[in-house]
Symmetry: none
Subunit: 199 residues, 4 copies
């Protein structure tokens, strides 16, 4: 019956896996997509390049996973249910701003975003694994507000989220204006105000 497919061959080394991701996190996050080479990563991980390529078909996919892990690493994903939409959004944005500004995520995010323009397939993966996955939670916050009757049921949630995160990413990427918790709060306020009237 079952378990038929229980591993036949040599089991894949979780050790190696971890080492690769560790090296990728460290080197790619630090030096960026082009700043770190696969050879370096392999060396640093004490692993052969072939082993990396066995599991990650490209540098970009490896970087994506490293980014994801690093991103999710220090999240205290406290179920943020503060009772108000504004409160929930603030609770989401507070740690987001910290991560986004403290650590060197932006270079990788920018590089992978650029890669997504060149490779439709990667773009798909990028959307699913980076964008959509964190978006799901954010959408829920709006859904709750709708259930509460706090905002109009017809609110375009995706647009609202794009206005919030689009604005902040824009500043992050071009660094022409500061990104901070207060700024994030103001963005939330503006968006919320806008929602009300367009209802």
């Amino acid at each position: 019956m079952s378990s038929a497919k229980r591993g036949r061959g040599r089991p894949r080394s979780e050790e190696a896996h971890r080492a690769i991701l560790g090296a990728a996190e460290k080197l790619l996050l630090k030096h960026g997509l082009t700043g770190a080479s696969m050879d370096e990563i392999a060396d640093y991980a004490g692993v052969s390049k072939a082993t990396i390529y066995r599991w990650w078909p490209s540098k970009e996919l490896l970087a994506l996973e490293a980014l994801l892990r690093s991103w999710d690493a220090d999240v205290d994903d406290k179920k943020t249910d503060t009772g108000t939409l504004r409160g929930d959004l603030r609770a989401i944005l507070r740690p987001w701003v910290k991560r986004a500004t403290e650590r060197r995520f932006t270079p990788l995010v920018a590089a992978l975003t650029a890669e997504a323009q060149r490779d439709r397939h990667f773009a798909q993966t990028w959307r699913e694994r980076f964008m959509e996955s964190r978006r799901a939670g954010d959408r829920e916050v709006f859904a709750r507000a709708i259930r509460r009757g706090e905002i109009n049921a017809k609110t375009d949630i995706d647009l609202a989220l794009d206005m919030i995160f689009g604005t902040l990413y824009h500043r992050l990427l071009h660094a022409h204006q500061p990104v901070s918790v207060p700024v994030a709060y103001r963005v939330v306020d503006q968006v919320l105000a806008g929602l009300g009237s367009s209802a």
Copy 2:
């Protein structure tokens, strides 16, 4: 005609200059920053690579200029003074959306944005020549609205602009949601609505 400041040697070839930018526009816009090589560009322009590097210190700077020229090429920058802020913004965004969606700008913009993360110096140039230059006009529209008393004098113009363009770029870059003229109008409406209440 004279040519007073004629140097000693062979005069610089405007012809070559134009050819380089033409090739850069064509190839870089079409295939992206990594998709086109300097050798290809030189070949296509019928120019030596050294000549390119004499005038543009790097591929990125060349791409930046090509992007700028292409961007400004088909602009009917009719001084758009419609009398209302909403009208002015719509007038600005209508051609913007066309350019941004019709032509292949996004890959280059994304690639150069990524480059800006790696190179502080390039980031500076990027901000000045790409961001700020088009921003000036946009800001003026808000300034006019303030003078008209249409919006609060303390309005954070930069934030408003980031909310508009940030949102649209966000969608452009990740293609998770559509970008269209109606969408752009809705963004304007939301932002304007937000401005009012936070005044």
Copy 3:
């Protein structure tokens, strides 16, 4: 008879053995030493690579054995005693030329000869198993001729054999001149003529 040393564990699979040699013969003979990979051979034999390496320490040794088997496969090693040295040598060379020209032995022979230059140990094995083993019979033909008084007892048999096979291999390896049964006969004639006078 033997089987005395029957071990404790699972007996070695004769099936696997045959399959490996079969695959080796087929693939190595067809594509050469570098043209066929161990992975391919293992796959084709339906056997794991480790099983191959358990019994053959290296690709070269496996190839050697495959070559030997294939070489000896279609030999009608009719004890060729024709009564004269010339007749015996012709009887030996006739099938030799066929094998050497018809099938794809030369690439393997060349590759293994090259390997013998790099690895003294393999060179030893190569000499013993490939050269010497087929040489024994050839030498006997000369010994018979000496017993018959057909040629001088002091004839340098090894030199004679080297002159015959060296010449033919030379042509085989560099393909600058044809190898055929008539050519082989002429070589024999020349060598025999030479022997007589140097006696």
Copy 4:
């Protein structure tokens, strides 16, 4: 006259060329075709790998040229006209044996011979540049003997040469029997004796 094609661009660096061939001679001759890597050669030559590949399409072709140069390096190609065929052949073989036995040519020769079996194109080059080029002179020695009336005009020169060099290469490659000047002389004698009677 010609010279029309005198380079426009940067002239190829004879320095680099020499360095590459020097490194190739040293490393490939010393460690063999597989024992030396292109990276090592590039390093040793103080040259980039790309430069090597610009001029030599493959490791094998580079090795061929290195072999040729090294082979021809220490030749005192004294026009050997001793008056007799035997004398001429001895004069040719004396230095040949020295080169062939003293220096580490055989591994490379064997490896390239093996390569010639895999690649028809390389085989062609190999024959032309290694075999035929040195053969031309050897053939002339026989032609002279024919003109002198020393040997039959119908002598199969190529066969005679194959018998001489084939025999010696055979011993060189398999090392089952010694190669020395006396041995070479005996081979010559045998071949010459054979020629006479088959005339």
